[in-house]
């Protein structure tokens, strides 16, 4: 399988996005934000897999947000998007 992700500074084409992690996901990964260069049509699901964030596919308990709104893990990302992976919410 060809890789969909490259280092943002080396991108020649495609699109660049920002990925953010919160709470337990951030601590497991050891980082909170990264800029990534992606091939067109890349989805959050594929970003999750290629970043090796755990468990292969996105776990059912993890939610996806694009540009600070809940989104489908299968939605193609666009240039400049802010993609966030959200562990189980516990507010209130």
């Amino acid at each position: 399988m060809s890789r969909a992700i490259g280092a943002a500074h080396g991108a020649e084409a495609g699109l660049t996005i920002q990925v953010r992690l919160f709470a337990s996901l951030r601590e497991h990964a050891g980082w909170d934000a990264r800029r990534l260069a992606l091939a067109a049509g890349t989805t959050p699901e594929r970003v999750w897999r290629e970043l090796g964030l755990g468990g292969g596919a996105i776990p059912a308990t993890v939610r996806v947000a694009v540009n600070q709104a809940f989104a489908s893990p299968h939605q193609p990302l666009a240039a400049g998007d802010e993609l966030a992976f959200l562990p189980p919410i516990s507010g209130g």
Binding site: F22, A23, S24, Q68, L86, P88, I89, S90, G91, G92
Partner: protein
């Protein structure tokens, strides 16, 4: 079709301790009557429902809780709270909503959340308040970490409604 008038909704995130009763009274700078409703430009409503949630003194493990840390997603959390409150207020036909939520490190006994709803009748006020509280627990990006015995544990999910 008549144009829908936006329902006044105020969302506040507090990085330090806040006094929910002072917020209900309209805050120290409020010179209008009617407390928080007066601050939103409403005459005194016939019905108000209030919920205050505080940090409990016991961790999920049963040990004493030293602190509760609340992480949020700046920007998205406020937008989600505003959207959830607007939708809930419209569904129940209430007059105004105030949501205040703590972020950062809170100690047992400190206020975590305040939901206040003003309406013409007690039914919509209470139903809207209860529904909004459950919605924000599941749909607004907050994450809790309990500190007990010097160790921090992320809380996965919410306490039962009871």
């Amino acid at each position: 079709m008549a144009e829908a008038h936006p329902i006044p909704v105020e969302v506040q995130l507090h990085a330090g301790p806040f006094d929910p009763l002072a917020l209900l009274a309209g805050g120290p700078s409020n010179t209008r009557t009617g407390g928080w409703c007066g601050a939103l430009g409403l005459e005194a409503p016939a019905a108000e429902a209030h919920f205050i949630g505080r940090v409990r003194g016991t961790a999920a493990t049963g040990g004493p809780l030293e602190a509760l840390e609340l992480e949020h997603y700046p920007g998205m959390t406020e937008r989600q709270l505003q959207g959830l409150a607007q939708a809930c207020a419209a569904r129940h036909g209430v007059a105004a909503v105030l949501v205040a939520h703590r972020v950062g490190r809170a100690r047992p006994g400190e206020a975590l959340v305040l939901v206040a709803v003003a309406a013409d009748r007690r039914g919509p006020a209470q139903r809207c308040g209860g529904e909004l509280l459950e919605a924000l627990k599941h749909e607004a990006p907050f994450w809790k970490r309990e500190w007990s015995g010097g160790l921090g544990t992320w809380v996965e999910g919410n306490t039962p409604l009871g």
